[in-house]
Amino acid sequence: MKLKLTVNGTLRELDVPANSLLVDVIREHLQLTGTHVGCDTSQCGACTVHLDGRAVKSCTVLVAQAAGAEVTTIEGIGSTDALHPMQAAFREHHALQCGFCTPGMIMAAIDLVQNHADLDRRAVREGLEGNFCRCTGYHNIVDAVMAAAPQLAKGAGHG
């Protein structure tokens, strides 16, 4: 099927099988391999991207459902020269080890802090329970999200 999708700010016209998942279009057709697949039951969150500004597990979205929407992946939020505050916080607080869950975790964390004011550590843990990390034990991820939250809360002036 043919459809249009805005991905990281660029309008893309696609011709893909109708049963394609959003994650497969992102990885295989658009070659944006920062979004990962870590499970087959929508449990791990490694494939988390933003669809019209909200975090979704892109393994659970048919690309047809995303037709006309804006999709933002990890490649679209910052660059090595200009990191998004959440990316910078993950690095500063050593919130990643193997890096495989990291893009999904960062995308979920951005959604969490942008939509919830006054998060405490417990709330961050609950807010990220849809994303597995097997390396960090989550401790430093919570540190990073807490550090980035004030900069990203609604009205704080970023993205």
Binding site: G130, H139, N140
Partner: protein, 783 residues
């Protein structure tokens, strides 16, 4: 010197590798694609044990886009060998263990659910998957042996393996131990199970095989912790390609925890299949395949007896363990419940008599091999659970009972009754710091406060020891290891003075690109951004044995120090010539070669340039500035520490909340505390997962009941508390960095600490791991 202070040994340098991971620019195996690539889907056994009677691929081959259906018979017909077990364990009667043949693809019988017996190759993944479902395989189901405790009385799985016994292994003095137990003032007995775990690195295993017909070269991209070992096994044993025509690349790898050490069927099959179909062949595991066919961990059943004298001093420890090895001996499966388990049973204590006997048994379950800690968590679990139980039985403070039995700093080097010589340590230093951090004095008050809320609060301790950086090669090979246990390193100083480092260690989250750069940069007095660390590619790195057993810095880092010394020695000779002095008069410090007691200096970069543009250069010296070294340690390293857990048990629901966790570890010299603390956090999370949540369960027919994240309870962010971690330092005495290794400690100490806390809260001696709400609720109700 400002540079050295900010990035040198001991500095919490932010990781160099992070920039690519946080921007989505990591390059994992599944991110790599090749022109003309096709896709493989494996045919897997639906039965725990069955004979393959016939495979009919007619329908599958007729489907659009299908290139081939290849089976175990095809692979055997092409002369490929079996997957070997790399450690030959000697039984207690001196005979060799019994190793059942392990073909990469099963051809006559399948022996666990998920075992691959063929693969379908098609133009697209979807086509391959649909065709795989159309392959008609006729099986005759056979009786499956699932329970390790009853395996020896069950039907034989493999012809020639009587009683499903791979080995009956023992270590220590049986008679002396039994006599000491008979004479002991008190004997504590404990039956324990160490639950089966499924490793679950977040990146599923993957492999991409490429064959270039014109050159005869094979390239295998795969999720490996040790690409050179993979190449060696595939070339020497499986004989899929000669070693010099096979390049193995392990690019960014998304976690391993042991499960990516081993040489598996799938990567073997794709490199073979790539040659057969003349196209690059890619396979990426679905998570369900990871659950079924990654090597699992732990799975012990143990009876332990600890004898104490009237003062509470340990006089003897006797341990009998049945270890489930799964359907086949995986790459290092035989060594985990023996040399990495029995040897650790002295723990931190001066127990004079220890005897351990291990029956390693085959069952119709996935192979069991190293998983984070690998044998050492199992040993720590036995020692620390029975010590805590003894304290309860005797009405002694568990801390004081441990303290009077601990090996003291004056006792080192300390030879244990189970074949190890500990080089150094200060166990009470870690214990004391941990007690202070947890506020042991205040526990009674916290317990009383919890009781008012309907919660039972418990505290549990684990004073663990581990042996890391398995070594030396000669001893390990005498004990049955099929490979050396050294590591290689190479340092190329480029003409412009920056440095490329090649290491045989592999990083799949550990941060070698930063830590190793810190070590080398400090040695040369250059910035860490002037050091690039290359790993994970047999085409670029000469040789290596990879990353497991917390060995990378202690062994791989030491190889780099050795190579760096050679660079400095050569640089000294170059500088001496240029500065018209004797090499013995040249000092090297902070990046400067200097004639002693003079102001004549040359920078590291100037010497490097001179080595490649040798105009003013010693006549007897080769140009260039590149050195390699192999480092073979003289002993293991012995990290040790104290972990303390506090839990609260909800009396109504049986839910256990881990409310505080303190870890104080002695890893020797710490190069990067940020990375070291992160390793402890991750290890503790996996250990807490083992204690409270994770369990790989097969039903009586050998069907895996926990084959997805819907069924296998892996810790999520809201299942865990913040962790409080610190270190004490006694530098390792026998490697140049004084480091011991930090990758596994978290997973070693924490299960015993948590379960001691749970049983303390409940007032019982044993609840089997994982202490799920149901089990705890039953314990509360006395069921």
């Amino acid at each position: 010197m400002a540079e050295a202070v900010s990035t040198g040994i001991g500095a919490p340098v932010r990781r160099k590798e992070d920039l690519r991971f946080i921007t989505g620019a990591g390059r994992y195996t599944d991110d790599i694609n090749q022109p003309g690539q096709v896709y493989a889907v494996f045919l897997r056994s639906p039965y725990a044990r069955a004979r393959i009677d016939a495979i009919d691929a007619t329908d599958a081959l007729a489907m659009p886009g299908v290139l081939a259906v290849l089976t175990g018979k095809d692979m055997a017909g092409d002369g490929l060998g079996d997957l070997p077990c790399g450690w030959l364990v000697k039984q207690k009667d001196g005979s060799d263990m019994v190793s059942a043949p392990h073909p990469p693809l099963a051809h006559d019988v399948v022996n666990y659910v998920g075992e691959p017996y063929g693969l379908v190759i098609a133009e697209t993944l979807q086509a391959a998957g649909q065709a795989a479902e159309s392959v008609q395989t006729e099986f005759t189901e056979l009786h499956a042996v699932v329970d390790p405790a009853r395996a020896m009385e069950s039907e034989d799985i493999h012809a020639g393996v009587v009683g499903n016994l791979a080995y009956d292994w023992a270590l220590g003095e049986q008679e002396a131990t039994e006599q000491a137990l008979a004479a002991a003032a008190h004997v504590t007995r404990l039956d324990l199970t160490n639950n089966r775990l499924i490793p679950n690195a977040m990146e599923p295993r993957a492999a991409l095989g490429v064959y270039e017909q014109a050159s005869g070269e094979h390239v295998l991209y795969t999720t490996s912790q040790n690409p050179h070992l993979e190449r060696l096994v595939l070339a020497a044993f499986v004989q899929v390609a000669p070693e010099h025509k096979l390049r193995v690349v392990a690019p960014d790898v998304g976690g391993g925890f042991g499960s990516k050490i081993f040489v598996y069927a799938e990567e073997t099959a794709v490199i073979w299949a790539a040659r057969k179909v003349g196209r690059p062949v890619k396979w990426t595991a679905e998570r369900a395949e990871s659950f079924l066919a990654d090597a699992h961990g732990r799975d012990h059943v143990t009876r332990a007896e600890l004898g104490l004298d009237a003062d509470g001093r340990f006089v003897a420890l006797k341990v009998a363990t049945t270890a489930n090895l799964g359907a086949y001996l995986s790459t290092f499966g035989s060594s985990i419940p023996t040399y990495l388990y029995g040897t650790l049973l002295a723990g931190q204590y001066k127990t004079p008599n220890i005897f351990v006997e291990v029956h390693g048994v085959y069952t119709n379950t996935a192979p069991v091999d190293a998983y984070r800690g690998a044998g050492r968590p199992e040993a720590t679990y036995v020692v620390e659970r029975i010590v805590e139980t003894a304290a309860r039985e005797l009405g002694r403070d568990p801390v004081e009972l441990r303290r009077i039995n601990m090996i003291q700093p004056r006792d080192f080097p300390y030879e244990t009754p189970v074949a190890l010589t500990y080089d150094t340590g200060d166990y009470e230093a870690s214990l004391n710091k941990a007690l202070e951090m947890i506020d042991y004095q205040g526990f009674a008050e916290r317990k009383a406060a919890a009781a008012k809320q309907g919660k039972r609060r418990g505290i549990g301790f684990a004073c663990y020891i581990e042996a890391c950086g398995l070594a030396p090669s000669k001893l390990a090979i005498q004990l049955g290891a099929g490979v050396g246990l050294y590591e290689s390193g190479e340092i190329r100083v480029n003409p412009t003075g920056n440095v490329t480092v090649f290491t045989g260690s592999h990083s799949h989250g550990q941060g070698h690109e930063t830590t190793f750069a810190q070590v080398v940069a400090e040695r040369f007095g250059i910035g860490i951004d002037d050091v690039e660390v290359v790993h994970g590619d047999t085409g670029r790195v000469e040789f290596g044995l990879g990353t497991y057993g917390s060995r990378s810095l202690a062994v791989g880092g030491s190889a780099l120090v050795k190579a760096a010394e050679k660079i400095v020695d050569k640089g000294r000779r170059i500088a001496a010539h240029m500065l018209e002095a004797d090499p013995g008069e040249i000092d090297f410090d902070a990046g400067q070669f200097k004639v002693r007691d003079s102001n004549r200096t040359l920078s590291f970069g100037e010497v490097a340039f001179a080595a490649y543009v040798p105009s003013n250069y010693p006549e007897d010296l080769e140009p260039g500035l590149s050195e390699k070294a192999f480092y073979d340690p003289t002993n293991f390293t012995y990290p040790a520490g104290t972990h303390i857990a506090e839990v609260e048990v909800d009396e109504q629901t049986g839910v256990v909340s881990l409310v505080d966790f303190v870890a104080v570890d002695d890893f020797g010299t710490v190069v990067n505390p940020l990375i070291v603390h992160g390793q402890v956090h991750g290890g503790v999370a996996q250990g807490v997962g083992q204690a409270l949540m994770e369990h790989g369960i097969y039903d009586e027919f050998g069907q895996l009941q926990t084959g997805s994240y819907m069924d296998y309870w892996m810790p999520r962010a809201d299942d865990l508390p913040d962790f409080r971690v610190d270190t004490t330092v006694t530098p390792c005495t026998h490697n140049p960095l004084g480091v011991k290794g930090c990758g596994e400690a978290g997973a070693i100490g924490s299960p015993a600490a948590v379960m001691n806390a749970v049983t303390d809260a409940l007032g019982v001696n044993e609840v089997s791991m994982p202490a799920t709400p149901e089990k705890v609720w039953r314990a509360l109700k006395g069921q």
